[in-house]
Amino acid sequence: MSEVIVVTSGKGGVGKTTTTANLGTGLAALDHKVALIDADIGLRNLDVLLGLENRIVYDLTDVTGGHCRLRQALIKDKRFEGLFLLPAAQTKDKTAVNPEQMKKLCADLVQEFEYVIIDCPAGIEQGFRNAIAGAEKAIVVTTPEVAAVRDADRVVGLLEAAELRNPTLVINRLRPKMVRHGDMMSIEDIIDILAIELLGVVPEDEMVVISTNRGDAVVQDERSRSGQAYRNIVRRMKGETVPMMNLDQNGFVGRLRRIIGFK
């Protein structure tokens, strides 16, 4: 029962790569076999987030071009046995791969892995078409900004046109305080427009930047709220029913938890 999931958004900088890294790490931490594909050819980042940059020998285009075996290009994660990365090429561009090759690649990977997660590049051109070609499911990432939601809406339409129905939504970088003051789009506002199933909400959190720069995934940080959010999303991906996190920390319980160190 393997799944090929593409993480996409349309707009850049909303957290596709961060989400891919965290969901992959989170699933691997639960002893699943996971392959992450960086489909952002020419602007690879996923290897950096996972701290695997200096281990790259072969990349995605080497595999699709037949220059190496798939096994040779897969890089094993530092922390988890079951987590592998197929890095993107940095010295080529999106035209180096075509959708047919991506389909074949995904079909090969599902033979061995329970989850294949594809990090889609920003935009809706060839890179996007390559990334979604082999996927069976899609996760759309957006931030609570009008432009990001607009682009997410466009992408949902394109996914539907490509027969990738019922994508799920991750809202990233939500700032509950700003929402409360009416200065930021709320979860409801976003769902109202996109009308797709909500997979999870990740609050804005400095810990994401800190762990990213260290080449760690915040999902492993037991104390951070964003880590908790990602762990919840991972459990929902596995089919568990997990209630949405209470993002409002101003209540008594929230204050108390903060005081005693549960962020």
Partner: protein, 142 residues
């Protein structure tokens, strides 16, 4: 994605002809939400069972009815019919055009309409009113 829905050549039986006299013959039913970048262009009336999201476009030579929120761009009477109307459960378009009139919502107003509204040309001005059932009150005969 561009959806070009063309008028279908309809063979009219006598019975159909009689019905045609009562209703407009060309109406298309769109059974989904139009998302950003999607477009409907139809010569006739358009009825949408879903929302029209920002960045989506609906162009019709006749009326446009949206059974949902209309947040995108809409052009009714695109061939010049000033009698064309736009009706939506939540009428909050980015831009609304009827025939050769182009309007946009007032800058300062962010209130959500709570009732279905109708837009049409009255005295050469596009006006928006609460939609009330009953053809006569609406000023056009169905």
């Amino acid at each position: 994605m561009v959806l070009e829905m063309q008028e279908q050549g309809n063979k009219k039986t006598r019975k159909a002809q009689e019905i045609d006299d009562l209703v407009d013959d060309n109406t298309i039913l769109v059974r989904r939400t139009l998302r950003s970048g999607q477009k409907i262009n139809f010569s006739g009336n358009v009825v949408i069972l879903g929302d029209v999201n920002p960045g989506a476009e609906v162009m019709a030579s006749g009326h446009v009815v949206v059974l949902g929120a209309l947040r995108g761009m809409v052009h009714a009477g695109a061939a010049g019919d000033e009698q064309a109307v736009v009706v939506a459960f939540r009428l909050q378009p980015t831009q609304l055009r009827i025939a050769n009139h182009i309007t946009r919502p007032p800058e300062d107003e962010s209130a959500r309409p709570s009732q279905p509204e109708i837009a049409r040309i009255k005295d050469d001005v596009v006006t928006i009113e609460v939609f009330q059932t009953g053809g006569e009150r609406q000023g056009f005969v169905v």
